[in-house]
Symmetry: C2
Subunit: 340 residues, 2 copies
């Protein structure tokens, strides 16, 4: 009544309750305090609608309950899904999440790291492409899909096993001659292991295979040319294709359609990621599904885990095959989900 304080502080609460400042702090933090005091303080808190100022708290404790997530964007489904699940894992633990989309211009990643470090985040989770990103040693850091140096855990799907699984599936489904199609970043990261896993699977199943790998700048049309060059009398030499992502598979499916090839009758296609159309409809294609939720949870767990003498340098989470209409397989096992 005496003053019209817009946002009440602990001092106001103390005055209102007629107790000392420290007592209020203890009540707020759940420390033992006399019953009668506790009640009075809680009443005052309710009455004034008091909330602790997390900036004052953060300054004092040097802990902010805030984590930054660095990711290229939230428009591509895999990233969007990752962001979503990391956000939920964090919120579950009462942690706030600072989002930094990095792909507007290259080289911005370091800038964001600096920015969030200055903001005193308690940790950083990053899916980044800057090979020599420097994050302060004092800031806990977990990297997704890319090893970021010693001491920094990397969380990823088991990409090697996924590639192998793709080869095995194609073999099981009757393929004799397959191809691996890849595009993407040329720097060392976990998804690159899909290729090695696929090769390994092909070899162990005696599957004859070829590779078409284009690098970042090159146009997707290279794949058109590759496929056309492997056509004989309107038939494709391959009866199975493994695309490094569902996104690429989507493109390739369009090319195949244009070439008059039927999927899966003429050629079977397996992608990677486990993307669903529009977020929750059916799969884009038969695919190796990344365990996005588990990746999210693992990142958060590793990041926030205290007193861990040594953190695992690389955590690979199991992938699974899912039928998505572009393989011969019927619906046993993993049926494609659609809304409802």
């Amino acid at each position: 009544m005496n003053r019209t304080n817009p946002t009440p502080t602990m001092k106001d609460v103390a005055a209102e309750a007629g107790v000392a400042l420290g007592t209020v702090s203890k009540v707020v933090n759940g420390l033992p305090v006399g019953e009668s005091y506790r009640v009075r303080v809680e009443e005052a808190i309710k009455k004034l609608n008091y909330q602790v100022n997390s900036y004052a708290q953060g300054l004092k404790l040097n802990k902010t309950r805030t984590v930054a997530l660095l990711i290229p964007n939230t428009t591509e489904p895999f990233y969007g899904s990752l962001v979503h699940h990391i956000n939920i894992s964090l919120l579950k633990r009462q942690y706030r999440m600072l989002l930094c989309c990095t792909d507007l211009h290259g080289g911005l990643e370091q800038e964001y790291v600096n920015m969030v470090q200055q903001n005193k985040v308690d940790g950083i989770i990053g899916l980044t492409y800057d090979p020599n990103l420097k994050v302060d040693a004092g800031t806990p850091y977990v990297s997704i899909d890319r090893s970021a140096g010693p001491g920094v855990p990397c969380v990823a799907s088991d990409n090697f096993a996924g590639g192998q699984l793709a080869a095995e599936k194609l073999a099981d489904l009757g393929c004799r001659k397959v191809a691996f199609l890849r595009t993407g970043s040329s720097l060392a990261n976990e998804p690159n292991k899909r290729k090695a896993g696929f090769e390994n699977g092909c070899l162990s199943r005696k599957l004859s295979y070829e590779m078409k790998i284009i690098s970042d700048g090159e146009p997707y049309e290279e794949f058109d040319r590759f496929l056309i060059s492997h056509m004989r009398d309107g038939k494709l030499e391959f009866d199975g294709l493994f695309c490094v992502t569902d996104s690429l598979a989507y493109y390739v499916l369009k090319v195949l359609r244009r070439l008059g090839l039927r999927v899966p009758e003429d050629v079977q296609v397996i992608g990677f990621d486990g993307i669903r159309h529009l977020g929750f409809h059916d799969y884009v294609c038969s695919t190796i599904v990344q365990p996005v939720e588990e990746i999210a949870e693992m990142c958060v767990t590793l990041l926030l885990q205290e007193n861990m003498p040594v953190k695992p340098p690389l955590v690979c989470l199991p992938v699974a095959y899912a039928y998505g209409g572009t393989t011969a397989e019927g619906r046993e096992g993993d049926a494609p989900l659609s809304r409802q």
Copy 2:
């Protein structure tokens, strides 16, 4: 050298440079200071790798350069796109963004509002569904797609015009009898105006139309039944469909295919949102495109605009039609973009 301070403070910089604390502050904040002092301070900053502690700054200034974004999720493409562009608009202005995905359980929206208010954000942008969400009067707030009471600007696409445009397009493309299919939240929001706009367009073009509107809990199969009930000898009574979202259009396209109907030959379909497959491939369908980037920019501008005596209660941004393969139209004008 004397002490191994993990993170240097202004005091350390002052000591290093041999100047007073206040001088350092001025240099950091770009206030006028003697040239020789400035140089010495800047050198010390570089040497110690000093960064201002934004928590101390936030406490002092009661400004945090942080905005919270409340959104259902980042897995559905429209939301993902919105998050992305808002993030970019904010980062451009050196603002940080706190992300809160709200759809894990209902009713959590209020909890997040409290949480971020306590975190002293400078503002909140929300795409929310809680009809009686209470945000502190002191916290600037901008709502997307839903009016959130007096004094709170609402930013949305021009949904009415979009609905009308859809009807006009269908009429232009030769449709005689069309239907509007809708599902979604029953509470008052801007997207609901798509229906009124569509009706208006139909009336002005003398298009005969019907509506099929199902509410939140009901299964999508209601649309199957609706369409089947309007079949005559294997032909659909409608030659045009307007779906309230691209997501619904995607579902409906599958139903139509199952029913043996060709799109766009037998029936043309227009959706709403302007979603692209996997984020950057072609459109899901011919569609009314929401200007997501402009919505994002408008939200941020309105939110951060100071000294605005009165903020606009409702801002409607122009939509556009885009060809996406499910209408008769050729590729003139808005061709469907695909990678490359």
